[in-house]
Homo-oligomer: 587 residues x 2
């Protein structure tokens, strides 16, 4: 037996007991005739003591131990003279009578502490050492709990977890597939699922009524900072439901998870249309922890001789409360330069400061009188001390730019409190996006999303302008500016689905080849259905108020898609190429 | 709103209520002025009634409905005059006042009944219709429950579910990998995991202490009858444990699952050594629902002039209780032929019948006296009416053949009661198997399995014969002759692991290239650890007393690895080849 108790378990009530513990040497301190050691496992840290007077040989042995050695000890629990109130086991220590070295450790390449001296690459290569650190371990434990509670809730709501296949079919729609050559079917490939979308719809047609799955999905994308080639979704689908029933279910799930894991009661989630979100926040995933709403100024700022504004499609600004005195000309210049970086691409930035003493200062003071600027201020709810920041230009671009500025200002002004969670349903997305370049529509969500009921007839018969204006019965859950998930009511009618494939530029043959099974299934009694998927990694991160999902993945890949620990991907043997009827073009 | 209740929900207490139901038309019966219809969803079947006298137009509309049309109805719950006690909703019916056709269905290619007229291929192609059938649906629901209860148990036992990556590294050891070309790393491939073995060991080295995962695994094998290229495991690992602690934990899990899902209290699981299992049952996964133990007869059957026996390495038989009168000479001949099929390959079959009247009949009567045969009978516990069946030849082959015969006889004699569950731990497997052909050892479990403690020093220093005799600290859980899972205490020492790779024919470079990360990890304080994996699909099947795992997989593949519904695998586009730096050698 390696242990009678864990290293996080012993309390004052255990004093006098003979115990056996196993774990890692965290740290060791010699004080004259005594050696104190912290022994660590997943459950905690226990202080153990070796006494030179009691057993010199044992104490000498203990003094040779190094950090991260794995040991087993027997001993007696005794009360500590100097208790450590910050540690659950801080009232006791173990007087060691027997020591076994289970395994030795080389000196770790970085410290196994909450704050480590190891850089990212080193931590990834030695991920097993990184996982010994409490922050990483606690993240993985949080993730495990989140999954369990998610399943508990959905099970109670009557959802059935069904495993859908990982080896499926490659389709050119959407992101790029990872593919898997089939040895038994030379020249053919499986694809790894980007999501179980069609399978969950098939399950609805199969009468499963309520499906969910916590499931790995795969996208072969060029990896941006916080993307992973494999990621996890809470994937759900329901039959015989309207949008509001789906929203109620997953609002319930989200509230339950925040309550159970974070101890937080979320308020009811407001609904906002896509159009409003874009108009008020310049984003379909607004951070609603703070207001700083967009105010459009075309009606009051045009026709005064300032050409930039006069020629702009949109003039729109935000009011930064109390910032007038915070920004020197130099600060404004810096902020303007920040906005002009290629990532954002603003041409310029107009400010108006309503100073506390009543003075008004503005970069466009020579075009606009104080009276003019006061009108802007009123429109934007500015009070003395506030500063307006205004952009102008082409509508979509300008909104995107102002969104960046709003978030930057929110951050600088400390308005993004990580302990506050503001959920929001964004609804009524456009169904289709027109792509000028390829001269075809793209599905804003995916090709299975239903137009809103009132738009269905229009979709079957309408002209190009009508198509552009179609609204989807789609919804996203946004928390603190992060898209947690999204979904839609699906098309369940063959004709409507075929029409959608048409609009998306599929030929009849392509639609049939790729999605024939689904179109066929629609002819055998497909029920109305809809669903949603939450990004599980993302949800973990947001619930912990952090930005990076990598912290919640046990073995993440780097930006080149590499696993640094196992060193994958890697070359395969010639025989493997032969078996798969493949040749490499690079070797 | 599509429904106020499900089709399985309404009871006599609801009589008088206005309700809305949605579901599928199961069957329809016209009786003069009335049309009775069974309406189905996942939750049950409700009878709905249309009355020509009340609303002729509605009734006419209803009469046009066909099987599997999807409808929504409003109506009033009323008590049935002829109740159906076999149905939960059998006390009531709905008087329909409003009917909406939500979607029409073509005539399904097979009947949506418990016993269907659809063949396997048709059922796979139209899996969405197959899933509407209760047996398939109930299997999927069982699977979902089994997963939830497994997680509940392991969570309570302190296990953390950690997701390990799906895109990992190809290793030639074991079965064939599915590989995934990496676009971003031309000429390199990921592999899909055959199991998360090394990752779960890394998690132990990372101090996670107790890990589990219900996880998809992949093997690119030539598919035998009941194998799938992707399958699901309950995968577990524990630190600081001995074998018996692992067994206790997973015996506990198994008992909990049988109790919770099947309402069965399993007895404590006996332990049997691999050597005993092979000697007594001729198999390391014996069906212990019945005895019919092997009895070896070399000492009493040799030296009597019967050359076949005299030259045999092993003479071994079973006693088939009460079968003497059941087998005519013709039956014995047929049984002998069955044993001589190439799948089994027995040379012959010797019988001895102890007839009820005291007569003894045997195929080897001319070599052995009745007295001789009586000695055999005594040794084998034969009573009047019993029949001995005896094989001889090379030890391993003969045992395997007799195992087949024992199972066949057990089946014929009705000894394999599907409602009885006999679990068994098989332990102390050989560590290594010598392969004459390749002149190297193979790992009986896998290369990470530890020799038993007492054999570890022998392994580091021993000669070839010693290696052959090494016992592994490995274990299998067998229920009713089916291997549910297996595991082992792992090596956690670099030297021992390197030695094992040596013995398995790895060069130092190969070992380093493929498993260097694990060998390295062993140097940084790897704790003693061990684990187990259960075949999840297999467990589902065994708990339901059926043989095929395919019944418990929502979207199984056929023997060619094809998904018949979506028609995967399939060719990919030329651009995909280009992006992956690959060329096909078959097109």
């Amino acid at each position: 037996m390696y242990r009678s108790h864990s290293c996080g378990e012993l309390r004052i009530a255990h004093v006098g007991e003979e115990v056996t513990l196993s774990g890692w040497v965290q740290v060791s301190r010699d004080f004259g005739g005594m050696t104190f050691m912290d022994m660590r496992d997943r459950y905690g840290i226990t202080q153990i003591v070796f006494n030179m007077d009691d057993d010199a040989q044992l104490c000498e042995q203990a003094r040779k131990l190094g950090r991260e050695d794995v040991i087993k000890i027997n001993g007696k629990v005794r009360e500590r003279s100097n208790k450590n109130p910050n540690r659950d086991t801080g009232d006791i220590e173990i007087e060691v009578t027997e020591l076994t070295i289970l395994n030795e450790s080389k000196v770790p390449p970085f410290t196994i502490e909450d704050e480590t001296d190891g850089g990212d690459d080193l931590r990834m290569k030695y991920r097993y050492l990184d996982i010994r650190r409490s922050p990483v371990r606690n993240n993985l434990i949080f993730r495990s709990k989140l999954a369990i509670e998610t399943r508990k809730y959905l099970d109670q709501e009557g959802f059935i977890e069904v495993e859908t296949p990982v080896l499926i079919k490659s389709t050119p729609e959407g992101a790029r597939d990872f593919v898997v050559p089939s040895r038994m079917n030379p020249g053919q490939f499986y694809a790894l699922p980007q999501s179980p979308q069609t399978f969950k719809q098939i399950l609805m047609i199969g009468g499963m009524d309520k499906y969910f799955q916590i499931v790995k999905c795969f996208r072969d994308e060029d990896l941006r900072a916080d993307r992973q080639p494999e990621f996890t979704q809470i994937d759900c689908e329901m039959s015989f439901v309207t949008r509001d029933e789906v929203l109620a279910t997953f609002e319930g799930l989200t509230k339950y998870l925040f309550k159970t894991l974070n101890g937080i009661d979320l308020p009811d989630f407001p609904l906002m249309s896509y159009d409003d979100a874009v108009k008020i926040y310049g984003s379909d995933k607004p951070d609603t922890r703070f207001e700083m709403h967009f105010v459009e100024l075309n009606d009051v700022a045009q026709g005064k001789g300032f050409g930039v504004f006069d020629n702009a499609e949109l003039i729109v600004g935000i009011c930064a409360k109390g910032q007038a005195s915070e920004y020197s000309n130099k600060d404004i210049k810096k902020l303007t330069e920040w906005m002009q970086r290629p990532q954002i691409g603003a041409k310029g930035l107009v400010y108006v400061k309503f100073e506390a003493d009543g003075n008004i200062k503005s970069s466009v003071g020579k075009f606009f009188s104080d009276e003019d600027l006061k009108v802007w201020g009123e429109k934007m709810g500015a009070e003395p001390g506030d500063m307006l920041l205004i952009l102008s230009g082409e509508t979509d671009k300008t909104r995107k730019q102002l969104n960046e500025l709003r978030l930057e200002m929110g951050n600088r002004m400390g308005l993004m409190d990580p302990t506050v969670f503001n959920p929001l349903w964004v609804v009524d997305f456009p169904l289709l996006e027109w792509d000028e370049e390829s001269e075809r529509f793209h599905a804003m969500h995916h090709p299975f999303t239903s137009p809103k009921k009132e738009d269905q007839d229009k979709m079957l018969t309408g002209d190009h302008a009508t198509m552009k204006a179609l609204k989807a019965d789609a919804y996203d859950l946004v928390i603190n500016g992060v898209e947690i998930g999204g979904g839609s009511i699906r098309i369940h009618d063959r004709e409507l689905q075929s029409k959608n494939f048409d609009l998306l530029g599929f030929t009849k043959e392509e639609a049939e080849e790729q999605f024939g099974f689904l179109l066929g299934a629609f002819e055998y009694g497909a029920p109305p259905h809809g669903g949603i998927a939450f990004g599980f990694d993302r949800l973990c991160a947001v619930m912990n108020g952090v930005n990076s999902i990598r912290d919640f993945i046990a073995f993440p890949k780097n930006n080149q898609g590499r696993d640094m620990m196992i060193d994958a991907p890697s070359p395969i043997a010639d025989e493997q190429y032969d078996e798969l009827s493949l040749k490499s073009t690079v070797k």
